[in-house]
């Protein structure tokens, strides 16, 4: 067994209505402790109203070497952007 406690990724929602953002990681023995540690490490200056934690080993990431095949094909498909609509001026945040 490893001597180190497992690593956890921490996500904090700063205000009601906004989404949780990744803020960093920490060590903890279990999920409860991870939330409390996150409270002490990442919300001491009133940064958040909600905390998510997930064990880092459960995060799967795309491979940076695959960037070309994953993202480049979208380059010439401008028709996927909804830029051809006329939006009324009153409509914000689009």
């Amino acid at each position: 067994m490893s001597k180190e406690w497992p690593l956890w990724e921490v996500f904090i929602r700063s205000k009601t209505g906004l989404d949780h953002k990744h803020v960093g990681s920490l060590h903890a023995a279990d999920a409860q402790m991870a939330i409390e540690n996150a409270r002490d490490v990442y919300t001491r200056r009133m940064e958040g109203v909600s905390i998510w934690v997930v064990e880092s080993k459960y995060i799967h990431a795309s491979n940076p070497d695959d960037a070309a095949i994953l993202y480049d094909p979208a380059n010439d498909k401008v028709y996927r952007h909804p830029t051809f609509y006329d939006l009324p001026d009153e409509l914000k945040h689009m």
């Binding site: 060590h27 402790m33 540690n37 490490v41 001491r44």
Partner: protein
């Protein structure tokens, strides 16, 4: 004053873990808690100083005998929260013996906090119905902090008790060794009694039943044993009779103000 001393001394003990915590995250957690205690102590000392400064001269001198403070009173100067913390002598500290006990190891530290935090939650809850506005406001603010401290220390008791054989043994040892200091929490000093009678303070004896039940539940969930309720209990802290540990704490804490009176940085 008793409450403020409890908070200050425990806050100081916990702050000794600063930079020594088992891992960075718990180092931050325990020093956060220490700061909460320190904040509670400040509010209470400020209020005590306000009340003290309003007393007639003769009453002031019957209340405090520390030369550094009586000199100030003699000159007609008002005292502050800092004077109470840094210039009183050990026999004038009224904290319970539990909080001045050394950290020893992590399990001892957890046991001490666990017993105190459960008491603090009940105490502040009771003080929320005090007939004193300031005390009620302090209790309201402190209760939120105390609830978190209780959650934190209780979870550690369970985590260690229910953990490995080694952690179980050490947690049980911490509980056993600190158990004899818990009785004093619920023994009323004259001040406790007078304040309870006046509707300002809490009737401590009434809290003991709830306290025993609450810690009993956590301890059994942690697969540990609750020590016997009729065990012999230390007392004296509330009357200013302390263990030798307090002297060392004060020596470290007060050294700067004693050596260089009034210095700031």
């Amino acid at each position: 004053m008793q409450l403020a001393d409890d908070a200050l001394i425990l806050g100081h003990r916990l702050s000794e873990w600063c930079g020594h915590g088992p891992i960075l995250e718990q180092d931050i957690a325990i020093t956060n808690t220490a700061l909460d205690h320190l904040g509670q102590a400040r509010s209470l000392y400020q209020y005590a100083a306000e009340l003290f400064n309003g007393l007639p001269e003769t009453d002031k001198l019957s209340f405090i005998t520390a030369p550094a403070i009586t000199a100030k009173v003699g000159k007609g100067l008002p005292v502050t929260e800092d004077d109470f913390a840094y210039l009183r002598d050990s026999w004038e500290f009224r904290n319970v013996l539990l909080v001045e006990q050394p950290n020893d190891d992590w399990a001892y530290t957890i046991a001490r906090s666990f017993f105190y935090d459960h008491y603090a939650v009940l105490l502040f809850t009771a003080l929320e119905s005090s007939n004193d506005d300031t005390l009620r406001a302090i209790a309201e603010k402190s209760l939120k902090e105390a609830l978190y401290h209780r959650k934190w220390s209780s979870e550690w008791v369970i985590r260690l008790g229910d953990g490995t054989g080694e952690s179980h043994t050490r947690m049980q040892e911490g509980i056993n060794e600190r158990w004899n200091y818990t009785g004093e929490l619920f023994m009323s000093s004259q001040a406790d009694q007078a304040m309870a009678d006046a509707g300002t303070g809490a009737a401590l004896q009434l809290l003991q039943g709830q306290w025993s039940q609450a810690i009993g539940e956590v301890i059994s969930e942690a697969t540990l044993q609750v020590p016997p309720a009729d065990a012999w209990m230390h007392e004296g802290g509330k009357d200013g009779r302390h263990s030798e540990h307090l002297g060392y704490i004060l020596a470290e804490m007060q050294y700067m103000q004693r050596a260089y009176p009034g210095m700031e940085w």
